[in-house]
């Protein structure tokens, strides 16, 4: 039956409903606004009466039988015949008959798994329902009414209103009485209330409150608390349930001193503690003192109290955590903020976003949310009870907490929800346990307790991750090791470089010559000697000679600009009393310094007396790049070096017979020591030239030619080397050490595939002497940095220097005898980075500044200095995941993915088989749309910096230099489209041709709006829907029309709080149009 249009009542949207439309608009196909509840009737329930009660109730709420009309921005009745609630059976496994405390949970879990449809704004029916029974005849011990709908129709509160009314109808039917009149108010009444508010003084008052409260600190931007992404890729292991949203329940928590949920709540309630615990946890894990949590405002007074329609308005609750505050002060702060949020809760979140200029940006108003459920008394019906169970609570954009009070047991349970793939179940469990612990401490500890004293883990005395005990308490220093090797095997080959091989005896003669020269020149113990030589045997001999003379080597990069090295020398001269000496063959570049040329030095005489210097004397000084640009000079003592060398001598690769080592890392990089140490221990070192080191083919050839058994390199160097097949079975190589930068999951798996090699991953800042953590790739299927070297300790600490339990991320600290002295000439910086170890008196620990997490397997995982997750168009994307996916495409040898501005860019080292035209579609089979890179550039090889690490700055912009389009643009329309497209995408119009595809060029739904606007400004009318459908310049131009002045859009009658301009409206229509083919 069709009704004449003007007799059909439409329901214009309330503010909250508009907000939901907007939210679905902003988050494309992955947003899930399905809300579902199970209303469970237990006892002796008549299925027929229940079905009738449900029908009667729904008759009273006609707006629930609607679909969404985007043009009218309203709910319109659905003209399809109404399906009766289809009876079905309860899922198997649910306990029938005898009821135990667990059965409702089992029921809810089973229903969640099997009965939740995904409902979107374009679904024909925005609401679906089922009546589930378990017995054949009418009387049921358990009957369940499942209601699933789009959030635009209902929320949790609405369901409770409906459940209550169903109970009233059921009771009336069973008792044969008349039910009370329908209690519901219409959405129209809610809208009137909203209009009154918008016209009132309260609006201005509320606006003023929010603008003041949300004012960020000077120079900072507004930022909500985000917990998703804390663990980066480490949290997205295969068990992270890629498809389903994560939902886990914690254990029931004790309320301690807080009033039970059904007693009158004064200030300082369990709800305040729940929020405070969330804020504290977030602050500890993010290192911030301000938590901005999403908290829904109730907004259920007046007409909204009795209207089954959503009134959701999630506003930011700002908690500034006073570092020296107590539990009491924290709870007061939270309580006051919560009361204020209630008072000013009618101010729409969407409006706040506009006020803060967040619309269209990558920042949301809120991210991590906390929902505190307030439940009414359980409902009763004759012969039974009624309970509600939320099956789906609506979309989650971040890690959120839901607090469910249990009035009977006087406890409260926390349920954690998180978007799919955000973190692994095990880590979510740790997070939830830490939260529960914080809550219970807030409830039980004396109010004057400083909140910094609260623990995140019950293991109060958690020990640090410790390496095995060191083999030696006083390991030999470098010069002692070398001297011992010379004495033991003087004729054995020590070093080979460009065809020349020196034996240990010969090398020691060279080294002694340098030592003698230095002593003659007056270099005293600890005097600085700069090595400004080309890479070669003399460089190595110099290092050894400087060590023998008791001096401190400062290895310089032969490929660095001369001025840079000169600046280093000048700075050293400033800081040190005794001027440094320079080893160089070009004295003319070092005016003002004493210069020795090792190539010209006479051999040391027999009278050479090598000094014995204290072990604390600096052994070398190396520069690391500081984040401010000025390099920091790290001073490492002989003592520290001896311990590091001691580990590798005993537990490392040096014990498996004499190695032929390919030394390919630059000698001014401490990573070089991994292999360089071999020349002090009786092994045969092959110094690979700078050119060969960068050329995988040459390097592979040398490895084969000299039957190298051990190589050390950065992951960026290892990747192309693997491709040469030099590590295939039959290779002479037995051992591989990888380090210096993070290892990708893709490379890790390839290295694990080299079953016949022993491969280790080494991590270590220069400040801790070469490396501090080691892992064997066989230890774990995902990338780990493993455990500390022998004699060292590693700790993952929060901002208060408290140890974190496995699974929670924090900052990595290192302690042990490998610590450097500090930064030369930078006492304050040294004190800031080498801090007192709270767990051991009198010793220091080094704060690496790196984020890490201890896995549940006891192995450390590196989380990077910055989030490896980037934000593109509001989505959190892990670049590692995109790189992995790209690497699976045929022909791709290596992939790098980075965010540049708002674009996700990719580079691939690819061969012939790579499908340059179809890569986007191929990736679309593996990744969701928002993770597909906007542009891909093919490169010959990964660009490396001077230390062999990936140099991102050298990655060319993939869009630039794209081949000029084959055909020229024809006609002014095409030109206008190209101009608008280029403007929208930040490109040059000359790069576009008639066949240029908007999306292939990097366009998306947001830039499509800009394109349409730009066209409009040029006098042409198009729509986002057309852009999506037609895609190329020629087609879009063909469909565009000349803009003429016309009437205003009649659908916008009411002044819109959240203005949906034509572009956005079109975009919504386009989005919905795109969805339809999939259904």
């Amino acid at each position: 039956m069709t009704l004449a249009p003007d007799t059909v009542k439409t329901y214009p949207l309330t503010d909250a409903q508009r907000g939901i439309v907007h939210a679905e608009l902003a988050a494309p196909d992955t947003a899930d606004f399905s809300v579902g509840d199970a209303v469970v009737f237990r006892g002796r329930i008549s299925a027929a009466a229940l079905a009738e009660a449900v029908r009667s109730t729904l008759d009273e709420v006609p707006w629930l039988a609607c679909r969404f009309d985007v043009q009218q921005m309203a709910l319109v009745p659905d003209c399809m015949p109404r399906r009766p609630a289809a009876p079905g059976l309860l899922p198997s496994g649910v306990l029938r008959g005898e009821l135990t405390g667990d059965s409702d949970k089992v029921l809810a879990d089973a229903l969640r798994a099997t009965h939740l449809p995904r409902i979107t704004l374009d679904s024909q029916l925005l609401r679906e329902q089922l009546l589930l029974t378990c017995a054949e005849d009418d009387v049921q011990p358990v009957a369940v009414w499942v209601l699933a709908a789009h959030h635009i129709l209902i929320d949790g509160y609405s369901i409770s209103l409906l459940a209550r009314r169903v109970s009233e109808h059921y009771t009336a039917l069973v008792q044969g009485t008349e039910p009370a009149p329908a209690p519901f108010t219409q959405p129209e009444a809610v809208r009137r209330g909203e209009e009154q508010y918008h016209a009132s003084n309260a609006l201005a008052r509320d606006a003023s409150y929010w603008h003041e409260r949300l004012q960020p600190a000077q120079g900072e931007e507004y930022r909500p608390t985000r917990l998703a992404g804390l663990l980066g890729a480490a949290g997205q292991r295969p068990d992270a349930a890629a498809v389903q949203r994560l939902r886990i329940s914690g254990r029931p928590l004790d309320l301690g001193r807080f009033a039970a949920p059904n007693a009158v709540q004064g200030p300082g309630t369990w709800a305040d503690a729940a929020i405070a615990a969330h804020a504290l946890l977030a602050a500890r894990l993010t290192g911030s003192t301000r938590a901005v949590l999403g908290l829904p405002a109730m907004n259920r007074t007046g007409a909204a109290a009795l209207c089954p329609a959503p009134t959701i308005n999630v506003l930011p609750l700002v908690v500034d955590i006073d570092p020296s505050g107590s539990i009491d002060t924290l709870l007061e702060e939270v309580s006051a903020a919560r009361a204020k949020l209630t008072v000013h809760g009618r101010y729409r979140a969407e409006q706040l976003m506009r006020d803060l200029s967040l619309v269209g940006s990558d920042t949301a108003l809120t991210a991590s949310e906390i929902n505190i459920k307030a439940f009414d008394a359980p409902l009763e019906v004759p012969g039974g009870t009624v309970a509600l169970h939320a099956l789906s609570e609506g979309p989650v954009d971040d890690i959120c907490l839901n607090l469910l009070p249990d009035y009977q047991a006087q406890k409260v349970t926390a349920v954690l929800t998180a978007p799919a793939g955000t973190l692994a179940v095990a880590d979510a469990a740790v997070l939830l346990e830490a939260y529960g612990l914080l809550f219970e401490q807030l409830a039980a500890a004396p109010g004057t307790t400083p909140h910094t004293a609260l623990m995140l883990s019950p293991q109060v005395q958690r020990g640090p991750l410790a390496g095995a005990p060191a083999a030696e308490a006083v390991p030999p220093v470098l010069e002692e090791l070398f001297a011992a090797s010379v004495a033991a095997t003087p004729e054995a080959p020590a070093i080979t470089c460009e065809g020349i091989t020196l034996s240990y005896r010969q090398l020691s003669l060279r080294a002694d010559a340098v030592a003698a020269g230095l002593l003659r020149a007056g270099i005293g113990p600890g005097g600085y000697v700069l090595i400004a030589l080309e890479r070669g045997i003399d460089y190595v001999a110099s290092i050894l000679g400087i060590a023998a003379a008791g001096a401190t080597s400062v290895p310089l990069d032969p490929n660095a600009p001369r001025q840079r090295n000169q600046r280093i020398a000048a700075r050293l001269a400033q800081l040190e009393e005794n001027p440094p000496l320079v080893l160089s063959g070009q004295a003319e570049h070092w005016t003002g310094f004493s210069v020795l040329d090792p190539a010209q030095l006479p051999p040391a005489g027999l009278e050479l007396q090598l000094p014995a210097v204290p072990r604390s004397t600096p052994g070398y000084l190396l520069h690391t790049s500081g984040s401010t640009g000025e390099p920091k000079a790290v001073v490492v003592s002989r003592e520290a070096f001896s311990h590091w060398a001691g580990y590798h001598r005993h537990a490392g690769f040096f014990n498996a017979g004499v190695q032929r080592i390919a030394q390919s890392l630059p000698l001014h990089f401490d990573g070089a020591w991994c292999t360089l140490l071999g020349v002090a221990l009786g092994h045969h070192l092959h110094l690979i030239s700078h050119e060969s080191a960068r050329d995988p083919q040459q390097l592979a050839a040398q490895v084969r030619e000299h039957s190298m058994t051990w190589m050390d390199m950065t992951p960026s160097l290892a990747a192309p080397l693997l491709d040469t097949g030099v590590f295939d079975p039959g290779t002479p190589v037995r051992r591989l050490s990888v380090g210096g930068e993070g290892c990708s999951q893709v490379l890790w798996e390839k290295l694990r595939g080299l079953g016949h090699l022993v491969v280790e991953n080494l991590y270590g800042p220069t400040e801790f002497t070469v490396d501090a953590l080691v892992a064997n790739v066989a230890d774990s299927p995902d990338v780990v940095v493993g455990r500390p070297l022998n004699g060292l300790k590693a700790m993952v600490l929060d901002a208060s220097l408290r140890p974190l339990p496995a699974g929670l991320p924090g900052e990595l600290y290192l302690a042990g005898p490998q610590e450097a002295h500090g930064y030369l000439g930078q006492g304050a910086l040294t004190a800031a980075r080498f801090v007192a170890d709270p767990s051991a008196t009198g010793t220091r620990m080094y704060r690496t500044g790196d984020r890490a997490v201890i896995g549940h397997d006891g192995l450390l995982r590196f989380l990077g200095r910055e989030d490896s997750q980037v934000k593109i168009r509001g989505y959190r994307i892990d670049v590692g995941e995109v790189e992995s996916a790209l690497a699976t495409l045929p022909g791709v040898a290596h992939a790098v993915v980075r965010a540049r501005g708002a674009r996700l860019l990719a580079w691939a080292v690819a061969g012939q088989e790579f499908d340059a035209a179809g890569w986007r579609e191929a990736l679309g089979q593996i990744l969701p749309p928002q993770m597909i890179p906007h542009a891909l550039g093919i490169i010959e090889q990964l660009p490396l910096g001077s230390t062999g690490k990936l140099d991102e700055k050298q990655l060319p912009d993939p869009a630039a230099g794209a081949a000029a389009p084959a055909a020229p643009l024809t006609g002014s329309l095409q030109q206008a489209v190209a101009a608008a497209m280029a403007e929208a995408l930040g490109m040059q119009p000359e790069q576009l041709g008639p066949d240029s595809d908007f999306f292939a060029q990097g366009g998306d739904s947001i830039t499509a709006i800009a394109l349409v606007s730009g066209l409009r400004e040029a006098g042409y009318s198009s729509s986002v829907g057309e852009v999506f459908a037609l895609r190329t310049i020629a087609s879009i131009a063909a469909a565009a029309t000349v803009l003429s002045a016309g009437p205003e859009n009649p659908a916008a009658q009411r002044p819109e709080l959240v203005a949906l301009e034509d572009g956005a409206r079109d975009r919504l229509a386009a989005m919905l149009a795109r969805r339809r083919p999939r259904r």
């Binding site: 949920p261 007074t301 204020k340 307030a374």
Partner: protein
């Protein structure tokens, strides 16, 4: 625990406790939201008054536009037995 009789004074007192205000700062014309009373607090009041014999529920009390209306609704729901 003995519960005092459900009177207007008691209702005002408990509202004030929830709002964290002195009882004389709660005006009959105040809206619930303006008192900073959210759903947790309102629910606790519902439970307290229900235990005292008023057949009230959350939605009907929340629908009250003012304190005055709420008091009337609560007292009107007290069973006479």
């Amino acid at each position: 625990m003995s519960t005092p009789a459900l009177t207007e004074a008691r209702i005002f007192a408990e509202l004030a406790t929830c709002a964290g205000l002195p009882v004389d700062e709660v005006e009959p014309g105040d809206a619930l939201a303006d008192l900073g009373i959210d759903s947790i607090r309102l629910m606790s009041l519902v439970n307290s008054w229900r235990a005292a014999g008023a057949a009230v529920d959350f939605p009907r009390l929340a629908a009250s536009e003012s304190v005055e209306a709420l008091v009337a609704a609560v007292l009107g729901a007290v069973s006479s037995s």
